[in-house]
């Protein structure tokens, strides 16, 4: 029911043991050379060049390959050759499991098909975004899309997604749960709900029919947990797309009556989620500029 990577799926299916998976991962780590190591193997640079580039990375927010080119250690053509060689020699986890004898090629094919079917619900659909979000558009589209999918799967309520709105603030609501996303991209994910939606989330997370007697602390905690589930799965999906993200534990916000302002240095985008019955739900992203 969650975004998974293939090795985890195989352990869950009892197709391989966690020990066998570990052996295969160790084989992958020995086989799949990092960019700098591959450039050294191809004779383009030395280990001292990598160390110099790593030192320069402390003051420059650049990927190692681009920095090696900027520092004059690699030409653009050599960088492309290194990347092409990395792709051509990449050992995938399924292949590694076959090599260590944990899976037969037939079983690998069988489980790959099963994995594709299991993960099919998490293939992102197109979401309209403003031009300033296009640079990492596929990640933000996936974030919005996974929010919609998790509303259906975890909360189980009917809704209609609204068109995005650019805004300098989020309107006040019963509560907002938020989570900071860092790594290759920096943003704050926010999920704003009315009282009725908060209770719907609580019923779903606690698997209880009646949550009227629950404390505010528990009710708020369930919304934070929903945000944690969404953002954790966003990080998992992003890692499959080659983007490294991390998350901090979620927090609860109670904005003032005039709304929660987008902090300086960030740009805000809101995605209204229409649910009817006088209830309101909205997701928002404050993206660092």
């Amino acid at each position: 029911m969650a975004v998974k990577f293939f090795g985890q799926f195989l352990v869950e299916q009892d197709a391989v043991t966690s020990e066998a998976l570990l052996h295969a991962i160790e084989l992958q780590e020995r086989t799949n050379l990092k960019l700098g190591e591959m450039a050294v193997t191809l004779g383009f640079i030395t280990r001292q060049d990598i160390e110099a580039a790593h030192a320069a990375q402390l003051s420059k927010d650049m990927k190692l390959g681009d920095l090696l080119v900027e520092l004059g250690f690699l030409t653009k053509d050599q960088l492309n050759e290194v990347i092409a060689r990395q792709k051509a020699t990449h050992l995938y986890i399924g292949e590694a499991l076959v090599k260590v004898g944990a899976l037969t090629p037939d079983k690998l094919e069988y489980y790959l098909e099963k994995f594709k079917a299991d993960q099919a619900p998490y293939i992102a659909e197109r979401i309209e975004l403003p031009s300033w979000l296009q640079e990492n558009g596929s990640i933000w589209e996936m974030t919005v899309d996974l929010t919609y999918k998790m509303i259906t799967r975890v909360i189980g309520i009917q809704f209609r997604p609204g068109r995005y709105q650019e805004s300098a603030l989020i309107a006040a609501n019963h509560m907002i749960a938020a989570m900071d996303i860092s790594g290759d991209l920096n943003a704050r994910y926010l999920f704003s709900v009315s009282s009725g939606i908060q209770k719907a989330i609580a019923r779903a997370i606690l698997k209880e029919d009646d949550v009227e007697g629950e404390s505010d602390e528990i009710l708020e905690d369930t919304v934070m947990e929903f945000v944690n589930i969404v953002c954790g799965n966003v990080v998992a999906k992003a890692s499959q797309m080659g983007t490294t993200l991390d998350i901090n534990p979620p927090v609860t916000l109670h904005p003032p009556a005039d709304g929660l302002k987008v902090p300086e240095g960030y740009r805000g985008i809101l995605f209204p989620i229409h649910v009817g019955d006088g209830e309101t739900m909205e997701m928002a992203l404050f993206v660092k500029q």
Binding site: M1, V11, E225, N233, V235, A236, P249
Partner: protein, 119 residues
């Protein structure tokens, strides 16, 4: 009946897991720790057979606590429960540090119990 300690900063997840564990007939929940440091203390006082632990917690996080727990107690079996289970690097790190398995959120009761019964 095997004893299970739940470690999660989220009260709602802890309640969900406690319910699944106590209604299983095979396991009993012996307590709830809210972070890694509490988990280490409660592992000593409650002596659980299994620990179900969140990865992303304030204070001492799950992976730091996992490292200490498996070093201090060779018998205890730790299963990580996390929304980050699908991140290959996080899954691998947990298994390398000694976790027996990783349960991804959102989870179903059947999935949790299958993993606990297989330990």
């Amino acid at each position: 009946m095997k004893k299970v300690l739940v470690v999660d900063d989220s009260l709602s997840v802890a309640r969900q897991l406690e319910k699944i564990i106590n209604e299983s007939g095979d396991f009993t929940c012996v307590g709830h720790a809210k972070n890694g440091a509490e988990a280490i203390k409660m592992n000593h006082s409650e002596d659980p057979d299994i620990i179900c632990m969140d990865m992303n917690m304030p204070g001492m996080d799950g992976l730091t606590a996992l490292r200490s727990l498996v070093m201090l107690d060779k018998e205890v079996k730790v299963v990580m429960v996390t929304s980050l289970g699908g991140v290959g690097d996080k899954f691998t790190e947990a298994i390398k540090l000694g976790a027996k398995n990783v349960i991804s959120k959102p989870f179903e009761a059947e999935n949790v119990l299958n993993i606990l019964r297989a330990l």
